[in-house]
């Protein structure tokens, strides 16, 4: 497809748009992966939203038992 004498401007526009949208998608996906890893790490340390699950590891550790 011939985009004429201003093809550089047209291709640059679409390339920049594509790069920014790809950047947004990657940012959202990587942020999600990082947060899920952090939540897993906290759960492994016994820090969980589920209080009954949280009590089990704490029962053996006096420091977290208050």
């Amino acid at each position: 497809m011939d985009l004429g004498p201003h093809s550089d401007f047209i291709i640059s526009s679409y390339a920049i748009c594509f790069a920014v949208v790809l950047g947004l998608i990657l940012w959202v996906r990587m942020d999600r992966a990082k947060l899920e890893a952090t939540l897993k790490e906290l759960a492994a340390r016994g820090v969980s939203r589920n209080r009954s699950a949280e009590q089990k590891p704490e029962a053996s550790g006096q420091a977290l038992n208050d």
């Binding site: 497809m1 985009l3 004429g4 004498p5 201003h6 093809s7 401007f9 047209i10 640059s12 526009s13 679409y14 920049i16 748009c17 920014v20 949208v21 950047g23 947004l24 998608i25 940012w27 959202v28 996906r29 942020d31 999600r32 947060l35 899920e36 952090t38 939540l39 906290l42 340390r45 820090v47 969980s48 939203r49 704490e58 006096q62 420091a63 977290l64 038992n65 208050d66």
Partner: protein
């Protein structure tokens, strides 16, 4: 009632998880159709030639830049007036997406301007007000990052966002109020669009694709923000339960 159903973050997360695959699929299909129409169906413009194809991304990005700020303004009202638990989450997550769309609008506008106007940039009212919109997005993103407590940050950002809405009518009507190099509105007009359907339809399809992209990314980012707040509250809870143990450990050696 509908909005209240979304007040529970866990329920919101489940509903978003159900809606996301459909949104992603619809967005991909709309983009595919829009890009096909933009490059293979739309004719060259009699004045702009092929550079009119830049308009198929520039115009939707510019619309989304404003729509995104409107979503933030509504969310800010939700934070300050109705104290909806997800309102500040929505406002915070819309800011980077809005900044990205504004950046696309500014850059693609400049790349269109060089061959058509002979310059990348002029300090006319439309271009300057959109640049101010971009700076406001960046300012709000910085404000969110500078405050540790998301509730306090949410309120401060909501006030600043509502003050910033004054810029929206300036962006929209700048081409009517002042003599600008930027052309006046040619789609959203009282007397109807002045663009031929051959160019208007691909433009509207691309606008639909950009809008779907915004909602998809916004919902995904909101999910992330809810998880981030969970991480924060879990860390605070862990820290608060760990703190009382310290005195006993310092006393122990003395005993």
């Amino acid at each position: 009632m509908g909005i209240l159903n979304f007040a529970n973050p866990t329920r919101f997360m489940k509903l978003v998880q159900l809606a996301l695959p459909w949104l992603v699929g619809l967005c991909a299909i709309t983009f595919a159709v829009g890009l096909y129409m933009s490059f293979f169906r739309a004719p060259e413009d009699y004045q702009q030639g092929n550079t009119v194809r830049i308009m198929f991304i520039h115009v939707p990005a510019a619309w989304l830049a404003m729509m995104c700020y409107s979503v933030m303004a509504l969310s800010s009202l939700g934070t300050l007036v109705w104290k909806h638990p997800l309102a500040d989450v929505s406002a915070k997550c819309a800011a980077p997406i809005g900044a990205a769309f504004t950046f696309i609008a500014l850059v693609t506008g400049s790349l269109w301007g060089k061959p058509m106007w002979g310059t990348y940039w002029v300090w006319d009212a439309r271009l300057t007000s959109v640049l101010i919109l971009f700076i406001m997005y960046l300012g709000l993103m910085v404000l969110w990052r500078t405050m540790e407590d998301p509730i306090k940050a949410g309120k401060a950002a909501a006030i600043l966002t509502l003050v910033g809405t004054l810029n929206l009518p300036i962006v929209k009507f700048s081409v009517d109020w002042w003599n600008t190099l930027h052309q006046p509105a040619s789609v959203v007009r009282m007397d109807g669009p002045t663009i031929h359907p051959d160019i208007l339809i691909p433009l509207l399809v691309m606008a639909a694709a950009f809008t779907l992209l915004f909602f998809t990314l916004h919902l995904m980012a909101m999910q992330n923000e809810i998880l981030r707040r969970r991480v924060r509250s879990l860390r605070l809870r862990a820290a608060s339960t760990a703190r009382p143990a310290r005195p006993s450990s310092t006393i122990q050696p003395a005993e």
